[in-house]
Symmetry: C2
């Protein structure tokens, strides 16, 4: 069994900087024709100058692959002129509530105070990408944020709002209510629940934010992805940390899935007789939601078991050392 | 502010064997006059011969402190004669469903098949101690086990059944329904929720089974402990693991709280103006539930800040390196 995908896309990706960027970027660029690159570096990507330098570093790291890094600015209350100047170089602005995840210390404290900026983004046609979690109890954070999504979706009906890495059935219900909402979902939230993280021995390499939720949440996410809900896009949220930051007294949040994501998705869709919908989930939906055209690159996968590496450098990937049913067999560079 | 406790007791304790036993047993024996010792060693304590040898090793390790290790047998479908022979040397039999926690591989697979043994224990007056979790989703395991407690409590009305390390408001509700049910609660379940384990950076040293639950569960547990519910007993479930088994790719379950438990309890009870109930919670309730008399030893605590050690040997304790408001100031050996 085989499938050929046209320009698979990863609509939520952490590429880091420096040596880590050089290590992980080619792994994404090999399988994906483009990706939405998150701006939560230290310091964050919050100026065009920094964004251009980061984009150049990424382009250098991904060679020889043809790969489009769709850049994002870290949300600030930017003046309209700044947003207008940035518009052609960004795919959106990423909003983090303060302190909710890795390198979000400079995020937004007062979610009411952002609305002038959102209005400007709406006028300029710049999408808003959101890490939608409150500071509440860990299992409730996403659900508690949903009213904020609803408020913005209603108030800014022409603003495209992307609910990033959704993890709950409730988020999918909200997606139905507003046509200007879209969402990304990761492969690890399609495949794991809190049971996988903490039900047996504790698994730091599966620990991420938002934390995976209940089996019924995963079932709802799977169902929406498998039927290729037109506003649900694949976004890996692949987030590498060196092993010593994971197997530690305080473990950083993030699952490194980039090199195994497509193979795992093909396996999931194949097991559910939904391979015909994979193209939409990993590429077409994103093109339509964002109105982007990726470079044309075919990626072929086949049902042929292989063992995922235990490590990529000092990063332990999702499914490390495990046998995957499907693999990427052929890529156009 | 000071308090003197008469023979504090830890009604759920893991003392391990060998070097670890020799390291941790004195830390318990310094603060507690007695403890219920769990039998889930490898292999389990499931014969009188092994139990006597383990008891002797404990007595050797706790010298010079006067300390009663109340021994438990690992649940098997023991013949009545075996139970009758063991009765005077054990405080109870500890039942683990198979595979639910550390060293429970030899536990019970068929919970219906145990009832002959429970009937014999009821006749002989031997309490049943239970790790009450199913194999369901990690957050539901205790709640799913409650009907089994209810069934046994009803079927064996003269059998004392101790629900070990309860973590939910629902377990406390069940406690009200059957007078032959009792329960232990740990200090870490009184002080933490899932937020502490996985809400920020992941904290392997706070990872235990059952996993801490929601804020409302913790609130219910605190309320019951602070009013010294007469069938709720302190049991630390203190479970040391060497650091390399915690800060690892797969982290063992267990919080090592023995050396800080009494100080943390005093702080908790003091903050809630409930110090007058601490004696019942850490000693008197257990004496009444089990009908035991511990050695007479006074332990004095005072409100005097101190910093908990970062390590005891290669074990990282609960509240490692943090400042505790209360401390044990004086112990009778």
């Amino acid at each position: 069994m085989e499938i050929t995908l046209e320009s698979p896309l990863d609509m939520h990706l952490h590429l880091r900087e420096g040596a880590m960027l050089r290590q992980v970027a080619p792994l994404s660029a090999r399988h994906f024709a483009g990706a939405v690159v998150m701006p939560n570096l230290t310091p964050p990507v919050d100026s065009l100058e920094r964004l251009r330098a980061y984009r150049a570093a990424i382009m250098e790291a991904v060679a020889p692959f043809t790969f489009t890094p769709w850049m994002t600015l870290f949300f600030r209350p930017y003046p309209t002129a700044t947003l207008a100047a940035a518009r052609d170089e960004i795919i959106g602005v990423k909003l983090y509530p303060e302190g909710v995840t890795t390198n979000s210390a400079g995020g937004v404290r007062d979610l009411e105070a952002v609305e002038d900026t959102l209005a400007a983004m709406e006028r300029l046609g710049i999408p808003l990408l959101v890490h939608g979690e409150t500071h509440g109890f860990v299992l409730d954070r996403e659900a508690e944020f949903l009213p904020i999504y609803a408020r913005w979706a209603k108030r800014f009906p022409r603003l495209t709002i992307v609910m990033e890495h959704i993890t709950t059935a409730a988020a999918l219900e909200l997606l139905e209510r507003f046509p200007n909402l879209a969402a990304t979902v990761t492969v690890h939230h399609l495949l794991t629940t809190l049971d996988d993280v903490a039900g047996g021995l504790l698994q730091p390499h599966l620990f991420c934010k938002p934390i995976p939720k209940r089996p019924e949440d995963r079932a709802a996410l799977q169902a929406a992805a498998l039927r290729a809900h037109p506003r649900l896009m694949f976004g890996s949220d692949s987030a590498p940390h060196p092993r010593e930051r994971k197997e530690a007294a305080a473990c950083a949040a993030g699952v490194f899935s980039a090199p195994v994501a497509l193979a795992l998705l093909a396996g999931l869709f194949a097991r559910h007789d939904a391979l015909a919908n994979l193209q939409a989930f990993v590429s077409d939906n994103a093109r339509r939601v964002y109105g982007v055209t990726p470079p044309a690159r075919r990626v072929r996968l086949a049902r042929r078991p292989w063992q995922a590496p235990e490590r990529y450098g000092d990063v332990v990937p999702f499914y490390a050392g495990q046998t995957l049913e499907w693999q990427v067999t052929d890529v156009e560079p």
